[in-house]
């Protein structure tokens, strides 16, 4: 976690020096989510996340060199958290006995497609674990200004039969 923290602080300095262009979305303060997740899964399980992913990449055995090369050459794009349920679908289809973590933030938690992905995953019983990384801010907007109910962890309740 300490390595992740120092990496993100260094990235912040590079961004302010304009050596990292475009957007730079940092994960400092959230390291425990990525590390905690990695502690209980294997490398065969899948994780899919969005653009705030430098530390998640490190958790998956990415190297610092790869992270900085990527950031300084070309900003890594967002993979979609909804694709995570698709990875879980493929794991079930191939009878892999692995799982997928689909990560999303509190900002994305208000999106309709999340509900669609949750519905299909519950309906088809997919090995998907949807993780809301709630840092209370969606880009710049605080959660209570974006959502009627910021208790995002309650979203799954309606799918329990």
């Amino acid at each position: 976690m300490a390595l992740m923290r120092r990496m993100e602080i260094a990235a912040d300095s590079l961004y302010k020096a304009k050596l990292i262009r475009g957007f730079c979305d940092l994960y400092d303060g959230q390291e425990a989510v990525a590390v905690g997740m990695e502690a209980v899964i294997t490398k065969k399980d899948c994780i899919i996340t969005a653009y705030r992913d430098h530390c998640t990449f490190i958790g998956r055995s990415g190297t610092l060199l790869e992270v900085f090369a990527e950031l300084m050459g070309r900003q890594a794009g967002c993979s979609k958290g909804k694709g995570g349920c698709g990875l879980a679908f493929a794991q079930k289809y191939s009878k892999d006995e692995t799982v997928t973590f689909a990560l999303y933030g509190d900002g994305a938690a208000n999106q309709g497609q999340l509900f669609e992905a949750l519905n299909i995953s519950a309906l088809w019983d997919l090995p998907a674990i949807l993780v809301c990384e709630n840092n209370h801010h969606g880009m710049g907007t605080t959660e209570w200004r974006a959502s009627k109910s910021p208790a995002y962890y309650k979203l799954g309740i309606m799918f329990l039969v």
Binding site: K80, K82, G83, Q113, S121
Partner: protein, 367 residues
């Protein structure tokens, strides 16, 4: 000059769907008739049989046998794990299919029409099309998005749009537009086998049309190359490009024009992205005149791209301005008479060709 002249014509009988004249090269073996529906069904069946990773997902594809019966019999044959009925949530199931493709499966996603693909367009473009490039080739997304595209009959503005131009503008996608049963079989097989995302634009009104297919086409290994157009009718005087249903209109127009001494070359594009610029330009260099035909909206359409390509590569060979015939620049009307006026008709193509040949007055006085 958008080439869509709105005049009431008496020849509305031309609009009735007839089996198209087959312009295939004849093989020595006897030709059978096959509808486009059966062509698509057989292609799906054979590819699912050959590769366990291929599966079909969409609304009504399973128990209903397919909204247009394209997937008839597949649920019974392959089971519910490979033929999946989805809720009416295009963003959700398209996203799931793209995720499955990330993991190495080969999804075929059916949209009931491509109008509904707009619900999932973020996944088609950002999750599927761009991933190979963004991952420096490490991720491939072998997915096919297929379904009816363009105008049907009386389905109104929100169910009649043609998406060929929209999808074909995006790098990372391949966009195919079959016309005949041979096209349907060969291109769908190619699409399923392709490692990249393919948008496969069918046409509801073509599903019931029959075409001759040779034994070669019926063979399970049959496949057409992506990115190659087909010259359906060889000609000398003018090039007409078309795709999907408009190929039939172009061929009928060519028959009418033949009586007036104009020998039209008709190109069936088959592939909008990649566009077969070399075949189109070679044809224009031979005929020196070009009419493009499409059903979709004129602005930023396929015809505009073809015109630009010809101007870039073959300008000196043009003897007349390129003319594009497209659907009317209005949301599709529901009223039958207005709908007919909003979609290109055979007469529009004939008139445009005559303008290109500087013969806009019929040759009534000719001996």
């Amino acid at each position: 000059m958008l080439g869509v002249v709105r005049k009431k014509m008496l020849g509305q009988s031309l609009l009735k769907i007839r089996p198209a004249v087959s312009m295939l090269r004849s093989y020595s073996s006897a030709a059978k008739q096959m509808t486009v529906r059966d062509a698509l069904n057989s292609a799906l069946d054979e590819e699912m049989s050959a590769d366990q990773k291929v599966f079909l997902m969409g609304e009504e594809v399973g128990e209903y046998q397919g909204a247009y019966k394209i997937s008839k019999g597949l649920l019974e044959k392959y089971g519910p794990e490979r033929v999946l009925d989805t809720p009416i949530t295009e963003a959700g199931f398209a996203g799931i299919a793209v995720g499955a493709a990330y993991h190495g499966l080969k999804p075929v996603v059916e949209f009931m029409t491509f109008n509904f693909s707009m619900q999932a367009i973020d996944h088609i473009i950002n999750s599927a099309a761009k991933s190979n490039y963004m991952s420096a080739g490490q991720m491939s997304v072998p997915i096919v998005f297929r379904g009816p595209n363009g105008a049907a009959a009386g389905v109104g503005a929100q169910h009649s749009q043609c998406y060929a131009a929209w999808y074909a503008s995006c790098p990372g996608l391949k966009v195919l537009t079959p016309y005949s049963s041979e096209d349907a079989r060969g291109l769908l097989k190619a699409a399923i086998r392709d490692p990249d995302p393919v948008v496969f634009l069918e046409n509801e009104l073509l599903y019931g049309e029959s075409f001759s297919v040779s034994d070669e086409v019926l063979d399970s290994s049959f496949c057409l190359p992506i990115g190659k157009a087909k010259i359906e009718r060889v000609g000398r005087d003018v090039t007409i490009t078309a795709f999907s249903k408009m190929v039939g209109h172009a061929l009928k127009a060519a028959e009418i024009l033949e009586k007036d001494g104009i020998d039209a070359e008709v190109i069936n594009l088959r592939s909008i992205r990649p566009l077969d610029r070399s075949t189109i330009n070679a044809s224009v260099r031979k005929t020196n005149r070009l009419i493009t035909v499409e059903e979709g909206f004129p602005q930023h359409g396929v015809g505009a791209e073809i015109c630009a390509s010809v101007v870039e590569e073959s300008f000196a060979y043009l003897d007349a301005p390129v003319e594009r015939i497209a659907g009317a620049d209005v949301p599709m009307p529901y009223a039958a008479n207005l709908e007919r006026l909003a979609v290109p008709q055979v007469e529009d193509i004939v008139r445009a060709v005559k303008r290109a040949c500087y013969r806009s007055v019929p040759l009534a006085a000719a001996a």
